[in-house]
């Protein structure tokens, strides 16, 4: 890297430049972290990196940093945690403006206090807003919330080439110019670094209830899961494999039985009615922590101990798609209404390429059977080599490469980490 740390320090302020013991990030050892204090300095940092031909790995608090291909190259970490704070939380209008490094949990709490809900979740309780947007994160309520992009009204983004740009705005309906928000959400910071976002909030449901039901032995649960997901007040529906179910409802461990978890929310009358529709499963009411436990399950096994795939499939084909995964030994967590399937494969001591290959093939077959896609969200580094963790290449890969070339011609941001080695 022909990047002069002193010049960086002068441009960004000395406290923005952190030299530390080498950190191993996705197989690259990095001893420098840039932590710009504001948007101006974030853009300035990118300008300098671009001029110097350097490459940066972008992170918020790094909770999703393990997801992605090994970088082609990297010189330093670029961290957004100092871009933090909620500038606006308009309780009349139901919109908020927050900086990218703001912890998602802080936003959830602030919104709740004002009588609103931020419909964006991430598996880790430490996630930042910027990280959740950039990685298109999803939590147990993905059924109700959909993808994070749906709640982004406007963005401030520092482009890879150093321009500080705005797209969208604060109003809830807007077709002024191209919808660049969609491009940056889910781009894993490969086009620019999100600095701040205007978000649309939703009213808090008047009443919520979380129900847990142990399904009869051998019942795969996809049909009742989909039926529950289609109740008008369903916010979250999860189906948990017997091997994992005890971690969600420790009170009712029943060997060989799957657990159905349902969160209902809305007007009390509607919740009552929908609850009655679930009565046949004899559910028990549990606290909202059950959903946090589901989110934690999305992150197991950790990359040191196994492989974790995320599949997004057509809901009516989940059962057929799950079969090859189960046969290959995966523990499954499903969000049936949203078509989400998390498949964890433990890697035992001495596991080799053959084991990874078998799991990979099972995930790929499941994605094809389910009419959707798969990604290897977590794996030890050696298991990623020679594979694109984002699965089968999308049909529009050439267009995506063209887009990357226009936004980041010199490959400053996360080079090689995204789909197809973008």
């Amino acid at each position: 890297m022909s990047l002069d740390p002193e010049r960086l320090g002068r441009a960004l302020g000395g406290d923005a430049l952190l030299q530390h013991e080498p950190l191993d990030v996705a197989g690259v050892k990095l001893a420098t972290t840039l932590r710009p204090a504001d948007g101006e300095r974030l853009a300035a940092a990118l300008r300098l990196l671009d001029e110097a031909g350097a490459a940066a790995l972008v992170r918020g608090r790094g909770t999703r940093l393990g997801f992605g291909n090994a970088p082609r190259r990297a010189d330093l970490l670029l961290e957004t945690t100092r871009l933090a704070g909620i500038d606006v939380l308009d309780a009349d209008e139901g919109v908020a403006h927050a900086a990218a490094g703001t912890p998602l949990a802080e936003l959830h709490a602030a919104a709740r206090e004002a009588g609103w809900e931020l419909p964006i979740e991430a598996p880790s309780p430490d996630a930042t807003l910027g990280g959740a947007l950039a990685s298109a994160a999803a939590g147990p309520r993905v059924l109700r919330h959909g993808p994070p992009r749906d709640h982004v009204l406007g963005l401030r983004v520092a482009l890879a080439t150093g321009e500080r740009t705005t797209c969208g705005g604060r109003v809830v309906k807007n077709v002024t110019g191209y919808d660049l928000m969609k491009l940056h959400c889910g781009a894993f910071g490969t086009l620019g670094v999100i600095e701040a976002a205007w978000l649309r909030l939703r009213p808090l449901p008047e009443e919520t209830r979380v129900l847990c039901a142990w399904l009869p032995e051998g019942e795969p649960g996809f049909a009742p899961g989909l039926a529950a997901a289609r109740l008008g007040s369903a916010r979250a529906v999860a189906l948990v494999d017997p091997a994992l179910a005890g971690r969600v409802d420790p009170g009712g461990p029943v060997r060989g039985r799957r657990l159905l978890v349902v969160e209902l929310g809305g007007a009390p009358e509607e919740v009552r009615r929908d609850r009655a529709a679930l009565e046949a499963h004899d559910p028990a009411e549990v606290g909202p922590e059950a959903l946090q436990r589901l989110a934690a399950l999305q992150e197991t096994p950790d990359p040191a101990h196994g492989l974790r795939f995320r599949l997004v499939l057509r809901p009516t084909r989940l059962e057929a798609a799950a079969a090859p995964l189960a046969r290959a030994g995966a523990a499954l967590l499903a969000y049936p209404g949203a078509g989400f399937l998390f498949a964890g494969f433990p890697l035992y001591e001495g596991a080799d390429e053959l084991a990874v290959d078998a799991a990979w093939r099972a995930a790929r077959d499941a994605a094809r059977a389910g009419g959707g896609s798969f990604a290897l969200e977590a794996a030890p580094l050696w298991a990623k080599s020679g594979r694109d963790v984002f699965g089968d290449p999308p049909e529009a890969l050439a267009l995506m490469r063209a887009l990357k070339a226009r936004f980041d011609p010199r490959g400053v941001l996360n080079p090689g980490r995204f789909v197809g080695g973008i």
């Binding site: 009349d92 309906k173 809305g266």
Partner: protein, 469 residues
């Protein structure tokens, strides 16, 4: 053209006349030719033929757009998608449909209804406008408050890129790997390629619908009621306000809905969902409206009455239209709490320019539609219409708003883009454009500020085009 044969290719002046403008009659440009393909393969061949001959092209649906988006500038070819009107698949179990772009919006909901489903985006022109046009403009409608706009309901598209290649974006499963190019294409005003197949989400029909009509002494109190409804955590399917000027026009027309002519504003609120929960919500809205100063609140007793209530809103454009040969339907959005002051300013602007201006608006979204009736044959009136329009946009931007909520930029507002975006912001949009269409041959002259493509055939419209910022 060899691709479609003489029968589906129009090139005589009298045939091209109808394609000189869309729903925005202010701007006109005559295309070199109009072709009517039947499927994706034909569109791809047309696009490649255009490339070989070096002519630009633009896709067109029903031509109901309101920002000049379907105009063929620079002697371009119009690819008219009206004959690509087949519904290719409708999966009631998984709740989606695959349609060709020429399928009319309302027809999709009609076909879905027997399965208990509907297609949510419902622009005012839904009886005529097509899904392809809706995708291009990211169309909204009165019910976007609860259901969102087109972008929230499109799962995938097949499109012909400006180099003639065919590509699929998105996934019927909802999440697709890689950049969300689908999200960028929806609302790109036909500048990134020609969409030839659209997979849309269908939603279950609401179990029950309740519609309220509240009469207020003035717009300010009607807006206050809207604010209280939203602050109170209710999510009505629609919250629409019609102002006094519109009420007068509607009541004097065939659309008369029996509104008191001295009313200052009428609020139309629609709630839908589980019948068990609706009664309480209707009561809450009724109380809020009363507390905000409503002099009368009615709840529709049956479908017939519900339709009568909606006539007050949907008949507005027709009623205004009969007052003069041309109707300019404006579109801008402001943060909802700023609505009362902005509306007052908008009316003042109309009065100052001596124009017939009336407002109907999606109050819940802060989306204004000031309508101006005029006669474009009167050059002085035309000048005033344009000048007032510009002042209205500036007022909305100053209030923290944007210059279009659902009609798009097109040719109409391209030169106002710098009101909101810096050169760097626009350059980021140009990078997206260049990734799809490096040579700028697909619907050129739209969205971006430019002086290169003049809107040609109408001398008066050319005057409009030269209005400085």
């Amino acid at each position: 053209m060899a691709v479609v044969g003489r029968e589906r290719c129009l090139s005589r002046p009298e045939e091209l006349f109808a394609y000189e403008c869309d729903g925005l009659t202010l701007h006109r440009a005559r295309p070199a030719a109009v072709v009517l393909p039947l499927d994706t393969g034909e569109v791809a061949r047309i696009v490649r033929a255009c490339r070989r001959q070096g002519v630009p092209f633009v896709a067109r649906g029903a031509g109901t757009g309101l920002s000049g988006g379907a105009l063929a500038l620079g002697g371009g070819v119009v690819i008219e998608c009206a004959r690509m009107d087949r519904v290719l698949e409708l999966d009631p179990l998984e709740r989606y449909a695959v349609v060709q772009p020429g399928v009319v919006n309302a027809r999709l909901s009609e076909l879905a209804a027997p399965h208990g489903l509907f297609y949510a985006p419902d622009p005012s022109s839904q009886q005529a406008c097509t899904i392809g046009g809706n995708v291009a403009e990211n169309s909204g409608g009165p019910h976007t408050l609860k259901y969102g706009t087109t972008t929230h309901h499109v799962l995938a598209v097949q499109m012909v890129l400006p180099d003639g290649e065919v590509v699929r974006l998105g996934s019927v499963a909802g999440w697709a790997p890689g950049y969300d190019l689908l999200g960028a294409v929806v609302g790109s005003e036909g500048t990134l390629g020609v969409v030839t197949e659209v997979t849309v989400r269908l939603l279950p029909l609401p179990e029950a619908v309740e519609t309220l009509l509240a009469v207020f002494p003035d717009v300010v109190s009607a807006c206050r009621a809207v604010g209280e409804v939203i602050r109170g955590g209710l999510v009505p399917a629609a919250l629409e306000i019609v102002d006094r000027r519109t009420i007068e026009a509607v009541e004097a027309s065939v659309y008369a809905a029996g509104l008191p002519r001295d009313a200052g504003a009428v609020l139309l609120a629609e709630l839908d969902g589980a019948p068990e929960a609706l009664a309480g919500q209707v009561e809450r809205v009724r109380r809020i409206a009363g507390a905000a100063g409503a002099t009368r609140v009615e709840v529709a007793r049956d479908e017939e009455e519900r339709q009568r209530f909606w006539r007050a809103r949907k008949g507005a454009f027709g009623a205004m239209g009969r007052l003069a040969p041309d109707l300019y339907v404006h579109d801008a959005v402001v943060p909802r709490p700023r609505l009362p002051e902005v509306l007052e300013a908008v009316c003042a602007i109309g009065d100052r320019y001596g124009l017939k201006l009336a407002n109907v608006f999606h109050a819940g979204d802060g989306n204004l539609h000031p309508n101006i009736c005029f006669d474009r044959r009167d050059p002085d009136e035309l000048r005033r219409v344009v000048a007032a329009g510009e002042e209205i946009l500036r007022t909305c931007v100053e209030a923290g708003g944007v210059i279009t909520g659902e009609h798009g930029i097109g040719t109409e507002k391209r030169d106002y883009m710098p009101l909101l975006f810096s050169e760097e912001d626009l350059d980021a949009m140009r990078r997206l454009r260049a990734a799809f269409d490096p040579d700028g041959v697909c619907n050129p002259g739209k969205v971006f500020p430019t002086t290169r493509f003049c809107v040609e055939s109408d001398p008066k419209a050319r005057g409009y085009d030269r209005v400085p910022l």
